[in-house]
């Protein structure tokens, strides 16, 4: 196992208000890693900083680029790159609230996902794979994305991210606002995407789903990491059970 992403002493603030107060953690290649925590703990801020939408005050985000056969080529710092350059390193972000382009068709949304790519054959292969993963989307290719249901929009947001053939996918609350059956569908897709080789950093409010899907978990509290460990251990921890799983 080798590290794909390493965050060191990350500080992010909105004006005078500190949102992240020295976060350090790393994500190993091939894993599903989850970040759980209450509203306002800084989970979304952390993902937005990794993908370049926010600039850190302090700290370092290192990423180990690799070629398709997994040979590590170089380590680079993401903390000073613009979002559109970070995508080119193989990091995709499925943002909170999905933010599919409602004024574009489903087809165009997926095409935008592959915006940085020029390998027509590879794009075609990923296109087929995304539509196989989410058959619902293939029935709706011509429809404008704004007319999709919440679950379909989430599938589109994930599919769009996959179209860049990412090595690391940041997912922000993919279960938000979905019915229990759709939550199952989305998490099944997440496992399948991971089995297909992508590493996943998953932010979730649904702590139970997250901890049973991921291998490693981090619990965030007000801008810091309070607890971390393998998910099966976190699931047994009294703190986690009381606070995040609603058990007494």
């Amino acid at each position: 196992m080798s590290a794909l992403l390493e965050v060191k002493d990350l500080h992010v603030a909105y004006g005078a208000i500190a949102a992240l107060k020295g976060i350090s953690f790393s994500v190993e290649r091939g894993q599903i890693v989850t970040l759980i925590g209450a509203n306002g703990a800084g989970k979304t801020t952390l993902l937005r900083t990794i993908s370049g939408l926010l600039r850190p005050r302090r700290g370092e985000i290192s990423y180990w680029d690799s070629d398709d056969i997994g040979k590590v080529s170089s380590s680079c710092s993401l903390s000073s790159l613009a979002p559109h350059l970070i995508v080119r390193h193989g990091v995709a972000h499925v943002p909170e609230g999905r933010i599919v382009f409602a004024n574009l068709s489903v087809r165009e949304n997926l095409q935008m996902g592959a915006y940085t790519r020029t390998d027509a054959d590879g794009i075609k292969a990923d296109w087929d794979w995304v539509l196989q993963l989410f058959p619902r989307l293939s029935e709706r290719l011509k429809q404008s994305a704004g007319t999709l249901s919440g679950g379909e929009q989430q599938m589109l947001a994930i599919g769009r991210a996959l179209m860049s053939r990412p090595r690391l996918i940041l997912m922000d609350e993919p279960s938000l606002g979905l019915s229990p059956i759709l939550v199952q569908t989305v998490f099944a897709a997440i496992r399948q995407i991971n089995a297909n080789g992508a590493t996943i950093l998953l932010v979730e409010q649904n702590a139970h789903m997250a901890l049973t899907t991921a291998q490693i978990g981090f619990v965030m509290e007000t801008g810091t990491i309070a607890l971390s460990g393998p998910c099966h251990e976190l699931l047994r921890s009294d703190d986690v059970r009381r606070t995040y799983l609603g058990e007494s």
Partner: protein, 301 residues
């Protein structure tokens, strides 16, 4: 009845010019949520580029008025203004990308004043006669008269609009423009270089404004450095009337503004030529603030 149809023809050909300018306002607004008040002055510069290029090719190259002349002048002026639009965005608006939106708006007004005064300094404040690019002929259909200039104006505007439609809906860059107009953040996460899309939008809008400047030079051959103020305002109102940020809306708004103006002049008095613009603006803001084709909140194009 003849007068009505005649005014309609005149109004629609004037309206296509407003529509071309309005497209630039609406595209920039769609992407940046900025009213680029310097846009009317870009149109003025376009007319002057055309003036100098036309003089050059007739005196230096000895071309006589013809369609070729017109195309050369149109292409040169569109290219010149495309560069101007690029430079304005790069130099004036990009440094303010993270500043409050009001700062960019004030800067736009500043750029507008700069272009107007620089125009007076460089081109001279006196009106100039726009050279005759195409031999004028008039076609009579019954009691109606249509000049070949009107036909060329309308045909050029239609071709340019179709070209824009193609770019926005059929190319990767156009799709990226629509994506950025919906959400800059999400577009960035797709790997879209937002700054490049914004530059491209200014280039497109400014080239269309230059085309409007040339067409107006054909139509009404007096140009001066302050000529952009009133058409700029009217095109802005046209964009608001159609629903700002909405491309078909800008075209519809431009056509309505043009016909409203010629009907006012024809049936009421030419004194109210400009007043009608602001009557329409006030009416839109009172009764349909989102414009005719605009939707509340955030759908663009």
């Amino acid at each position: 009845m003849e007068q009505f149809v005649q005014q309609l023809i005149n109004g629609l050909s004037l309206g296509t010019i407003y529509a071309l300018i309005a497209l630039g306002y609406t595209m920039v607004y769609g992407i940046l949520r900025l009213i680029n008040f310097a846009h009317g002055d870009v149109y003025m510069v376009g007319a002057f580029f055309g003036y100098y290029v036309a003089r050059f090719i007739s005196t230096q190259l000895g071309y006589v008025p013809s369609m070729l002349n017109f195309f050369l002048v149109l292409a040169a002026s569109m290219a010149g203004c495309a560069i101007l639009g690029f430079v304005i965005e790069r130099g004036a608006y990009r440094p303010l990308r993270r500043a409050p939106r009001l700062n960019a708006l004030i800067t736009a007004i500043g750029i507008s004043l700069l272009l107007e005064n620089l125009g007076q300094l460089v081109f001279g404040a006196d009106p100039k006669d726009f050279p005759n690019l195409i031999p004028r002929t008039t076609l009579s259909i019954g009691v109606l008269t249509v000049s070949n200039i009107q036909l060329i104006v309308v045909a050029t505007a239609i071709v340019l609009t179709l070209g824009l439609e193609f770019i926005v809906h059929r190319t990767k860059m156009g799709t990226a423009m629509r994506a950025v107009s919906f959400s800059g953040d999400a577009a960035g996460l797709m790997g879209i270089n937002i700054n490049r899309v914004i530059s491209f939008t200014f280039v497109l809008g400014s080239a269309l404004a230059a085309a409007a400047g040339i067409l107006v030079g054909l139509y009404n051959p007096k140009i001066d450095p302050l000529m952009g103020i009133m058409p700029g305002l009217k095109a802005f109102v046209a964009a608001v009337l159609g629903g700002i940020g909405n491309i078909p809306g800008a075209i519809l708004g431009g056509l309505i503004m043009g016909t409203a103006e010629t009907f006012t002049v024809g049936y009421l008095s030419s004194t109210y030529r400009d007043a009608i613009t602001f009557v329409i603006l006030v009416a839109v803001l009172l009764f349909r603030p989102t414009g005719l084709l605009g939707t509340p909140a955030r759908s663009k194009f």
